[in-house]
């Protein structure tokens, strides 16, 4: 492995192509940490945005007018504002309204750090789209299928869990796929509030080494690979859930 890393030092000496995150262990650790931070942020946001989507779609069908209204206001608010502004709103506005906690050294610090706010903000951002996506999926389930379950004595909850959701999910998957890809790309915004994810760490490295070109190329490729893995995973999932003779 060392030989491999050292080869990049030679590459730099010989050609001027500077990839310090490969030959320099300090930069390498920064890059690896940044990569895993991006992966972690993505996974947390994927999970919570899907939960928000499922719950939101369910609340949208609520018989209570105000529940439906609140969900709709949420969706409009988060779809029609820039995600960076949302992130700043959470990180600066909401955060300042929250109580502070002792930091263990006698000082005070905000209750939630940058990572938590990025996770919350981006989950709500992607969740707003997911609500719409799941709702469209639920609406695509024929009423007659639901009725057949009802006639067999299924309760509303059993029908929702065993009939509506599985069918809605299959309909929603292609759009969900798109939105989740967008979400992973949008995690780079966390850079703006100094969450040490991949873009942030890359910035640190290019500031120290003045190798902006190399870092930009690297970032492009690594995000391409990361999103590629997600797309591949979602597509094979989609294939696995495919039912003969259902959909197209």
């Amino acid at each position: 492995m060392e030989v491999f890393f050292e080869w990049f030092r030679v590459l730099y000496d010989e050609t001027g192509i500077n990839l310090p995150f490969l030959y320099d262990s300090y930069d390498r650790n920064r890059m690896v940490d940044g990569f895993f931070m991006t992966v972690k942020l993505s996974i947390v946001c994927l999970f919570f945005s899907v939960v928000i989507g499922v719950v939101g779609a369910w609340l949208q069908n609520s018989p209570l007018k105000w529940t439906r209204r609140i969900v709709n206001v949420y969706i409009q608010l988060f779809r029609n504002t820039p995600p960076l502004v949302q992130l700043y709103f959470f990180y600066f506005a909401i955060s300042s309204l929250m109580p502070t906690v002792d930091n263990g050294f006698g000082g005070q610090q905000p209750m939630l750090g940058g990572f938590a706010w990025a996770a919350i903000s981006l989950s709500f951002f992607a969740g707003a789209y997911n609500v719409e996506i799941f709702r469209a999926g639920i609406e695509a389930v024929p009423n007659s299928t639901i009725e057949a379950a009802e006639a067999l004595g299924f309760s509303r909850l059993t029908t929702y869990v065993y009939i509506t959701l599985p069918l809605a999910f299959r309909v929603a998957l292609p759009s969900l796929n798109n939105n989740l890809v967008n979400l992973v790309k949008t995690t780079t915004l966390a850079y703006a509030i100094a969450v040490p994810e991949m873009l942030y760490e890359a910035n640190q490295i290019w500031s120290d080494n003045v190798n902006v070109t190399e870092m930009m190329i690297f970032l492009l490729l690594i995000y391409f690979a990361l999103v590629g893995v997600l797309v591949w995973g979602m597509n094979s999932w989609e294939r696995k859930l495919k039912i003969p003779g259902f959909g197209n």
């Binding site: 007659s144 299928t145 009725e147 057949a148 006639a151 067999l152 004595g153 039912i243 003969p244 003779g245």
Partner: protein, 248 residues
């Protein structure tokens, strides 16, 4: 005052049903004894589907009484689960669960509603598949079955709940002429086994053959009724005569 089979299994008394301002059933009464097969015929829009949907409470009624084995359906405290265990329903469009194969479609309600033992339920489901002559199609999804096959799965799915009375709403209307007979044969066998059946149908030959009693409805009222021979040969009401003239 427990119900006994000396009394009608289904007793419909002066039922009125409206959708908004449109009155669809205008005082319908009829009785079905245990083991009896009755056919309801009549022009499109006369309220046939609505009437049988009221029997298992898929539609509510404004006034009158519907009793199934003595249990009043027109009751805000109606135990719908108890009712639906007694009443099976088969729809024109089959309405199978598209994400479940034939066997699973049949097993679902006994498992999820009756919470029966899985091994027992599977045995039952396989015997029902045999009964509707679909051996070898256990693993097929609805999308892989012909209309007639799907409809027979739907019949088996209803029978799996071991109902006392079956409702059939124009179950052959969506089928190709070649497959109509296989479904009619299944229903005929069911009737011969002593199942109480309420059938809405346009198949006059079939009605003549299996029905114990035929009801002709038009614009929300029963115009004329009687045993098949009498009904088809000595219809008195001009509306019945006109209808039979068109259809035969």
């Amino acid at each position: 005052m427990a119900w006994t089979d000396k009394e009608p299994m289904v007793s419909i008394r002066d039922v009125h049903k409206s959708f908004g301002a449109l009155e669809v059933l205008k005082g319908v009464s009829l009785d079905v004894m245990k083991g009896e097969v009755i056919c309801i015929i009549g022009p499109s829009g006369s309220g046939k589907s609505t009437l049988i949907r009221c029997v298992n409470a898929l539609n509510d009624i404004q006034s009158g009484s519907i009793k199934v084995e003595g249990q009043e359906v027109n009751d805000p405290h109606l135990n719908k689960l108890e009712l639906r265990k007694k009443v099976g329903m088969v729809f024109q469009q089959y309405n199978l669960f598209p994400h479940k194969n034939a066997l699973e479609n049949i097993m679902m309600a006994p498992l999820l509603v009756l919470k029966d033992n899985k091994v027992e339920v599977e045995k039952l489901a396989r015997s029902l598949i045999k009964k509707v002559r679909l051996e070898g199609k256990e693993e097929s999804y609805p999308g892989e079955l012909s209309g007639g096959q799907q409809q027979r799965v739907a019949i088996a799915r209803s029978l799996a709940m071991n109902p006392d009375v079956m409702l059939f709403d124009e179950v052959t209307a969506a089928l190709d002429p070649e497959t109509v007979n296989e479904v009619l044969l299944t229903i005929k066998e069911l009737a011969q086994d002593g199942m109480t059946c309420i059938l809405v149908t346009h198949e006059m030959g079939f009605a003549k053959e299996v029905a114990d009693h035929i009801y002709f409805t038009d614009r929300g009222v029963i115009v004329e009724h009687g045993p098949p021979t009498e009904f088809f040969e000595q219809a008195k009401d001009p509306r019945t005569i006109e209808f039979l003239g068109q259809i035969l």
